[in-house]
Symmetry: C2
Subunit: 136 residues, 2 copies
């Protein structure tokens, strides 16, 4: 795991979240991206080598809607950047972590991602992410 | 705000937390430090430019004991590294954020720190931290 790629923060309203985190971080968000398969809309802020990803729900059955209902607004997950997601998934499986997807899937921001079940990771929803390299 | 300095994660038992996060991160923690004034014991892992800080309670009235009771184990706060903590505190006050301490206080890992109330920061407990430079 090379670094914290981003921290995902669940917000009720993406525009209000953008306005608030612009004030907090002292800079504007630089992109918005919908991940239709996950029923989320995301907004990204750069913070040195790291990013903050705001997450809004696009449907009542979105995982973010469920999180907001249960926990309210706040930190949703930590994403670690990895070089080789399949190797890291295999390593974690062998260490006894439960993965939420069998194969890497396409996430926001041109990444292949895999989530680790928080019950096996100290109550933390952990995301692994690997940047998708464009083929030459 | 220069980067995510660390993510604080509340754990019930520091030894068990160390063992779990060693497996997750694929490396050993490099130090343990008690912050008596906060009634916490901390353990640090490096992760590229960032750190993971495990937080255990050292007394039943520790803020970490209260957090664990209410939320269970999991992410407790995000700490951002700042160059000038007093200037950043002043900027945030003017933007309407509520700070949990009036003046910077001494935290773990040779830092001056200040916390921002999660009610004013989208449900996120935000820590500002500035490295204490030793005087020449």
């Amino acid at each position: 795991m090379k670094k914290i790629e981003h921290i995902g923060i669940a917000v009720k309203d993406l525009d209000a979240g953008n306005a608030l985190f612009e004030k907090l971080l002292g800079k504007k968000h630089y992109k918005t991206e919908e991940v239709a398969s996950e029923k989320v809309i995301t907004s990204f802020f750069k913070n040195g080598p790291n990013k903050i990803e705001l997450l809004g729900a696009t449907a009542p059955d979105s995982p973010i809607a469920k999180f907001l209902e249960k926990r309210g607004e706040g930190i949703h997950h930590i994403a670690f950047e990895v070089e080789d997601i399949e190797a890291e998934m295999e390593r974690l499986r062998e260490e006894g972590f439960r993965l939420l997807n069998e194969k890497p899937k396409k996430g926001a921001d041109n990444k292949l991602v895999c989530f680790v079940h928080p019950k096996t990771a100290g109550g933390v929803l952990v995301e692994l992410c690997q940047t998708i390299k464009s083929e030459a």
